[in-house]
Each structure stands twice: as C-alpha cells, then as structure tokens.
Symmetry: C2
Subunit: 438 residues, 2 copies
Amino acid sequence: MDKVQPRILSGFMELLPADQMSFNKMYDTIRSVYERFGFLPLDTPLIELSDVLLAKAGGETEKQIYRFEKGGSDLSLRFDLTVPLARYVSQHFQDIAFPFKRYQMSKVFRGEKPQKGRFREFYQCDIDVIGVDELDLIYDAEMPAVIYNVFRELNFGDFVIRINNRKILNGFFKSVGYENKIADILRIIDKLEKIGIENVRRELADLGVDSASSDKILSFIGIRGGNDEIIESLKGCGISDETFLCGVDEIEQVIKYLRGFGVSEDCFMIDLTIARGLDYYTGTVYETVLKDFPSMGSVCSGGRYDNLTEYYTDKKLPGIGISIGLTRLFYQLKEEGVIKNEASTPAKCLVIPMSPDNVGFALEAAGILRNSGIPTDVYYQAKGMKHKMKYADRLGIPYAVIIGDDEQTAGEVMLKSMASGEQQRIKLNELPAKIKAE
Amino acid sequence: MDKVQPRILSGFMELLPADQMSFNKMYDTIRSVYERFGFLPLDTPLIELSDVLLAKAGGETEKQIYRFEKGGSDLSLRFDLTVPLARYVSQHFQDIAFPFKRYQMSKVFRGEKPQKGRFREFYQCDIDVIGVDELDLIYDAEMPAVIYNVFRELNFGDFVIRINNRKILNGFFKSVGYENKIADILRIIDKLEKIGIENVRRELADLGVDSASSDKILSFIGIRGGNDEIIESLKGCGISDETFLCGVDEIEQVIKYLRGFGVSEDCFMIDLTIARGLDYYTGTVYETVLKDFPSMGSVCSGGRYDNLTEYYTDKKLPGIGISIGLTRLFYQLKEEGVIKNEASTPAKCLVIPMSPDNVGFALEAAGILRNSGIPTDVYYQAKGMKHKMKYADRLGIPYAVIIGDDEQTAGEVMLKSMASGEQQRIKLNELPAKIKAE
C-alpha cells in the first residue's frame, strides 16, 4: 500500500510530550491564577457564523480568517476570543450576572504567512470584566494585579507591566492642536521603540505635524521617573484639557489600587509611549515585558474599552481585558532556553514487576500509589531490566519501584531514585508517604 | 448602526457559566485519572492537511468533514483524535518512548445533520497505548481499570463496563462456516439490543444464514452468567478453532488482571454481543453503560487494534484505546437532571467593602485568601448591599466577607454563610483557616 507522508501544515505548533508537559504547566498556572481571582470559565465554539464573527472585522484581519461553507452556512474559525465574548455577552445577557468576569484559554486561528515564531493556530489566555453602563476603575488595577501573580508564578525572571491611559494621550494631543490626527500620531508613537526617535520625528513631519509640536509631543512622551514623579509631572505640565486631567486622575487611582493589591513597585510603571494599536481602547492600556527578554516585545497586553458589544446590541457594556499569547510565549521562552523540561509524563513512579509472577503485587503497589494521588505508571512488557530503566529514564520518571519475588514475599518494594541511583527496600504501605516526603 | 443578531450555529454546545463549571469539573476529573495512570498529554492541531487526515476515511466520515482551502492548501478539521494520533506516532516515531501511553481531551468536528443530543463540535477524551510490534495483554485490563476509576469519581451512579473479544466472535463464526460473512453478521448482531432477536434472525436469513446456524449463533451470543461461568461455557462449547481459543484465553487473562487492578466485580462483565462497528478492532472491545440510564447507550467505548498507522508507515504498531464523548455525556446527564450545578464561579468568597474607604482593607483580605489558595472575588461597584448579596447569590459564592469601618478598625471581617445566613465577626488572619475548615 502507498503510504501518506505524516506531516502537519507549517505555522502550527505540535509538541513532543516533554514540551507538552511544560506547556501544560504554564497553562495550568495561568488558569489557576485566573480562577483564584474569581474569573468564570467560558468555552465558546471554534466555528462561528461569518456574519456574526466578522460584524466588525475588515482589512488585514478578514484576510487571515479561515472561512468556508458547510451545509449552506458561511462559517469562520475565530481569530480571537474578544469577538466571541462580545457575541456571548449580547446573546446571553439575561442570564449573566454583572460585572461579568470571565476567562477563556483556547485556540484561535489566523491564516498568516508562516514565519519564525508566528503561528496560525495559537492559544490566547484572556481575562475580561464587563459591566453594564459602567465599570469601576478598580478593575483597571485588578487586571495587572492578576498578571503580576501569573508572571510571578510562571517564574521566568523579572518583568514589568507598563501602564498608560489613552485619555492622557488623547487629551494631550487635543491640547497641542492635533486632535484630528490622534489616531495617526498614536500609531507613529507606538513604533517609537521599533524605529527610533528620528524616524518618528520624520513620520510626524510627513503627517503635517510642525516641528514645535513634534518637540512638545516627544518631550511629553519622554517624561521619565518613578510612578509618582510621572504623575506629578503630568499634573504640573499646564494642560487643562478635561480628558487629559481625567486620564491623569485615573492613572493616579490605578497606581494607588495596584499598591493596595500588593503588587511590587518594581513590577509596574507608567509609560506614556504605550498606545496599543487597536482602535477600541479608551482608557487604561497595558503591556508586559520580561526584563531579560525585551526583544520579545509585550507578552501580555490589553486595556479598557467603552463598548464591547456595539455590533450586536444597543446596550452599553464597557469592559477591560488583558491577554497572554501563550503559544508564542512558550515558543520564545523555549528558544531562549528558559523553559526546562522536567519530564515527559505526569507519572512520578514507574512500578516494575521483575517477572509475570510479580504483576499482581505490582498492580497492588500501583493502586496504593494512585489512591494516594501519586501518578504512577507500570512497565508490563517482558523486556530486560536495562530496557525498563531506559523507559523510566526517557520519560523522566523520578522513582522506579522494583518488585521481585523477595520483595513480594516480604510485602516490600525496592525504591530507586533515578537521579541518584540510590536504592532502598521499603514496606509497601509506607511507600506513598515516602514518595511524598521526597 | 444596524445590529447583527448574536447567535451560533446549531449543533454547537455553548454553556452558561454554571454549566461550564460542571462541565469543567467532569473534564478535570477525567484528566486527573488519566494522569494518575501515567498517560502523557498531547495536543495536536485542529486543522490537518486533508490528504493526511483522510488517508483512510471514506463514505459517511468524509461527507461530515469540515474541509476547505486556504493559502493553496487543502485542509480539514479533525473528526476524531485517533487519526491524528496515528499521524503523530508515525511522524515523531524516533522521539517517542514505547509503549506510548497518551491522553488527549479536545474538540473534534463532524458536520452532521443537527439533531437532539448530536453535536457538530464535541470533546473526545481519549486514552491509547501504542506498542511496537507487540503490546502486552495487561493493557487490555488497564483501559477498563482507568475507566472504572473515572466513572467512580464522576459519581453518576452504578455503571458496568462490558467486555468482549473479537477473536471469540471471529473464531466462532469461522467454526459455524460463515467466515466470509463475519463482518455482516457482526453488524447485524451489533443491533441486537436496538432491533430485537426476531429482526436479527430475519436479517441473518436475508444474509443467507441457514436456520440451524442462526440458532447456534443466537444461543452462542445468549450465553449468560457470571464472568467465570461465561468463560467456562466458552471453554466447554466444543469449538476448537484456534482464533476462538486464543480469544477465550485472552478474555480470561483480562478478567484476572481486572481483579488485580481492584476493579469491583459488579462493574465489569463479559458480553458476547458486543462487536463495535469499527473495522479495525481485532481483540478486546469495550462498551460502558450507566445502569440508571441504559437508553444513553455506551458512554465510553474502545478496543484493541493490530495496526494503528498502516496508512503512514510500514512499522507495525498495535494499540488499544478507549474514548469518552464528553459533550454528549454532559448533555445527556444534564437532560436527565443528574448534573447539579453548584456555582457559576470558582470563587469561594466574595469580599464586600461597605464603602470606598474599605476598599484597601478589602484588597488586603482578598490577597490573604488568594495566597491561601482560596479563589476570591471582590465586589467593587458602588451599589446597595442588596445588590451585592444578589451578585454573590446568583454566582453561587458560598461565603460573603463583609468589611465595614468597624471591622476594618478591629482588623476583622464579617463572615456570612450564604446558605445559612449566619454571620460572625472573625480576625482577618484567621479567615483562611476558617473557610478551609468549613
């Protein structure tokens, strides 16, 4: 028979078990923090009706959609978790208690050109809080407080959550007279780190911003210092625009609340250069940078939006959200050598019967371990001892529990640490406590 | 602006948070048992290349595929987790330690006509063990041992895992002279419970089975009794076909091992009527029935196959697997009223600051609870007490932690049980232990 070459499409991540274990550990850590902050789980369909999913989309996004017909319906794979959230909240409005805090950690799809570190199928790990008509400002601090706990527990070194407020930016640009070019100017400023100050200045000039205003803009976004210093500078810079003052007041409150959440001062900072590309952010915005890997860019971004559901309902539902692109983050950390795989299996013990006569006792031992909550595998194949130990070794199982006739007769096992090679005979009923103690 | 009606395609399950919590609890229980038995996690792409995914498929399966072109590639959404496993094992053969025990619990897609209880997007929760050239028979007992633990922990009442062996069936039919009609006869017998004995007899006659052989067939599959009695009947029925005897020997071993695994005798039984439709099962086969809900049919099925990867490689990789259709199972149990939702949120406590002045202390309280591993939400919105309690009530949060000026001054909180309405003042630092104790 002709064989088909087993392969997958480029731009799709598929992991070997050891990597999958590390990936799942990250996934579980994020989920655990999200749940600890009281976010509700959600799991929307991967396939949505195109007219619903693409109500807002256009341009680049639309080109990337996996879209197809089936059974007479025009269908699309979701490209993010925000549009499905908007659809969900509108559709199930009557059944939801607000503020609605939800998390969703699932795959999304974008048919981009494949390139290193860009994926067509990837996990987003989102939290959002949606209010009706209004949403307390303290949620603007809860988001980075959650992210602070996530990255502390992920334990990939120092990180900083950069915070800005679109009202500060919008108000400032109104005050320098470029109110109608805010979007364009913000887009140019957003590239400051990428293209450098001279290119920004040139692009601003191309846009028609006069040189004096360019100076003002660049000196404004160049305000530096500790969080309190920046707030003082903003308050003292003589701009009386209402939106601006509102933004300054908001960011001051958010900083105060962040301290209330117990977030370390060195893990968050006001950064006036952050705008975030998306059109719909209207208040607080975030980016998160791993200090040891600044070239990764933001590994977790988000912000506040005034109206999540305008394409589906007349209700006004403001919200705030933040997202971790887990697939990309995992890939980059793996490339950097930061992710250390520990094992290919959840099993902590491999029970090894020396002969078929020992299988019954081996099953009993495995049962006792499992009932104590210790993940346990048993090696049944009739192979030599070397082969059995190699299996434990390849999978990274820390303990071998060897059972021969002597052990079985005595109601004991031989416990071997795979790392040290040390062996000791131990009573079967003492085994779980022993493993847990080590 | 014109609004788009928010909706999803029929045949797709989307849950409200309380149902999602119950669903996730089932998912997590299954995953936890799979991991406790040492199965490795896997997460293959949802989109596969059509020529790879459909190497074997044909007929009904192929019609149900979500298939589309993108970027010049012919792509399909996976319709099960077995074909991707075969592809994965063939593709990554050199990097895998065998026997390869993997679990995968993910969505699959079938564009069926929508009908009650049938889904186009649904979770399959699969375990499989793959060997190279051979795979010990004890894995045929490990599968139902895992499933026994899963359904015991899911706690949906009594259940029984029905076990048969295709070699017994194949050998028997060879002995009555209908070797070349085995597939057809098995297909008719498979419908015994659905269509009844008379219809089976008629269909057998239509197939050309003479009346005497029909009697033999029906009396054979009518063998009843305890597991050991059935085995004795099979041994004593005078059939000397080698395949048959091998099957009897295998099922005897499997039953013996199942006892070794500590599986209760009333949770498994030999059932000679089970054949399983799929062509590729070659040995032990399983079905699982919830005793209180026989009309649900099998909620967990599987079996042994000789060669998983024949479309991708010349290597011979026998395996055994079993699968839970979680979406359907959840839907059916929900319909039957068996699933009792407990809460819409993971949060066990809702911290409620009485006024904005109490927010700082509320954040401290929430932090202490979360750091103790207790999922905690805080109600920040400036609403009346009634509104705040209603939020806790709607979400099913068991404890309200109320903080007013008095409590704050004393370093205390008012702990209220939402179920009993009882309130008590308690020191903040004693709160986590108190919650955990209750």
